[in-house]
């Protein structure tokens, strides 16, 4: 990276904003179709009723909540990379920080849709907002679901503002290198940023505070998500390790998604000199750590169930491994713990194919982890007469496809219209190295 110059960094990133090829618009159109499929399925559900999904008694929380937790988790590593690693002065995060932050914003947007989808009568969403109303009804802030509303709204606001603030100097650069309509748009978006000394003084301070505030927030948000379950008296859910377990899992899945996005981005945009193999190597090493933490959490859950001598708890965990969804537990252990351990080998970390393949495997495994936790808890709780099973239906599959399409649709649009690598932070790295 030290061979790069400021001009080369600018040129490499600005080249990505050139007029896209037809294949790009083809990909955008395909993803837009996916979004329409999801929107159509949701519309059908609104007009027909929430019963069109596979949710039932006792499994009242199905793929909508699984996808909610999955996407919130994906969002987490963006903040890890942009905020926590910024505070630790880890220079290797600079080339991927912008894309990871963007991933966070879009993943939270996607996650935020699922409580609406799950509501059924979505037009009554205002019940969750503390607004004065005729019947003097207010939200119950003792409920973890209300903690969640506040936490996710805060996270979306904070991550969006953090992302936009980080973009300011780069928006100014695009403004200075463009003409016509693009120049006019970026002139407004960059707020008249000129890189004056007083602007940098306040920007650096403000950015540091952003990072310092986003760090406890990111840990609190997934802790709050975990309390949606842990505060319910359900075997398999009612445990104190859920908060750290969920946070570690979130970062693990988010790092996997970073690799899933960065490897094609690096190749398509010819970012090899910026997103070096060392950067991807460091992400992979971090995944070894998060994978081991997740593995320890899986083991600790079983230990707690066994050591508690609580027959209901033990039966719940026995059923998770040996029951109808035993394959889900196998997926999560193999995909989230064993396979990422291959990153211990330098040869695996040095292979782009292995990095990409393992990142996909971890994404798959982390989705199944949420399935095992959410469905596994309520499907097999205290009373054998109330046990039941769950399988998603077509509407849920369509909405799930829609959510993945929406995330990638937004990300693909971002990549060609805004700088996907922070030129300013890259220059800072180069400046310090020099």
């Amino acid at each position: 990276m030290s061979e790069l110059t400021f001009a080369q960094i600018d040129q490499t990133v600005l080249n990505t904003l050139e007029r896209p090829r037809r294949s790009y618009w083809g990909a955008v159109a395909l993803l837009a179709l996916g979004v329409l499929l999801g929107a159509g399925a949701w519309t059908y559900q609104i007009f027909t009723g929430i019963g069109v999904g596979g949710q039932n008694v006792p499994v009242v929380w199905g793929t909508y909540l699984i996808n909610f937790v999955f996407w919130v988790g994906i969002a987490h590593s963006g903040t890890l990379i942009s905020a926590i690693l910024h505070l630790f002065r880890a220079g290797w995060r600079n080339p991927i920080a912008r894309a990871a932050e963007t991933m966070t914003v879009f993943a939270v947007c996607t996650a935020g849709l699922f409580p609406f989808v799950h509501l059924g009568r979505v037009w009554q969403v205002y019940y969750m907002l503390p607004v004065p109303n005729q019947r003097l009804l207010w939200p119950n802030f003792l409920s973890p679901l209300m903690f969640d509303v506040v936490a996710i709204s805060t996270y979306l606001t904070v991550s969006s503002l953090f992302w936009y603030t980080g973009l300011l100097p780069d928006l100014a650069l695009v403004r200075d290198r463009s003409t016509g309509r693009r120049h006019r748009i970026f002139r407004v978006l960059s707020l008249g940023w000129t890189g004056a000394h007083s602007q940098w003084l306040n920007y650096s301070r403000g950015y540091l505070f952003f990072a310092a505030l986003a760090t406890p927030l990111v840990i609190s948000v997934h802790s709050v998500v975990s309390w949606d379950f842990a505060l319910g008296v359900v075997p398999g859910w009612h445990t104190t390790i859920f908060a750290p377990y969920f946070v570690a899992g979130a970062i693990h899945s988010g790092l996997a998604m970073v690799l899933t996005l960065m490897i094609p981005l690096r190749r398509i945009f010819k970012y090899e000199a910026i997103i070096t193999m060392e950067v991807l190597d460091n992400v992979a090493k971090t995944m070894v750590l998060t994978g081991l933490i997740v593995g320890m959490a899986y083991g600790t859950e079983y230990f707690i169930a066994w050591y508690s001598h609580n027959p209901v708890e033990w039966e719940s965990f026995r059923w998770r491994a040996m029951g109808e969804y035993g394959y889900g537990l196998a997926f999560m252990v193999v995909c989230n713990v064993l396979i990422p351990s291959l990153f211990l080998f330098r040869r695996v970390r040095a292979s782009l194919r292995c990095l990409f393949a393992i990142s996909l495997v971890v994404n798959f495994g982390m989705w199944w982890e949420r399935f095992v936790i959410i469905v596994g808890g309520v499907a097999h709780d205290f009373m054998p007469n109330a046990w039941g099973l769950y399988a998603p239906r077509l509407v849920e599959y369509c909405i799930m496809i829609g959510s993945f399409s929406l995330f990638f649709f937004l990300f693909v649009l971002f990549c060609k219209h805004l700088p996907s690598v922070s030129m300013t932070e890259m220059k800072e790295t180069l400046h310090h190295d020099g």
Partner: protein, 168 residues
Amino acid sequence: MTAETPIMGLFTDDAKAARAIRELTAQGFGFRRAHGPLPSRRIAEALGLKTSKVGWFTLVGGIIGFFTGFSLAIFTSTQWNLIVGGKPIIALIPFFILGFEFTILFSVIGNVVGLLVCARLPDYKGLELYDPRCSGEHFGVLAVCASGRERELMDFFQKKGGEVRVFP
């Protein structure tokens, strides 16, 4: 009052820009602003910049947020005066979670307001005396001189290793 001519010296190295800033006023020229593609410690030291006041906005935002979150939770639960889940009407531990989230939210809003106020953004007029190269790889030093001393100021910047841009 004599007319002032704004002239910018453009340097590829922040150390040269910082040296120019240090010597500018000693030569009888007026310093206006320094621009750059990244925050430079050398330029900040040359200018003797004080600490930013953004943190005060963040702190005030955080304090307001904590009390707003806590008060909102207390207000709403006293409006529906029923014991839920065996917890007291004013349950401090769950309400602390709301207080915490609001603290972060309002701190960040305060931080953004502080950044905009202290950095005086949006500022589209600042673009009138600005060179686009300053967002790329140049550090710009904007100075003014009395009418008739333009040549001197241009020579000064060139001697310090910079390029010169004269604004009309």
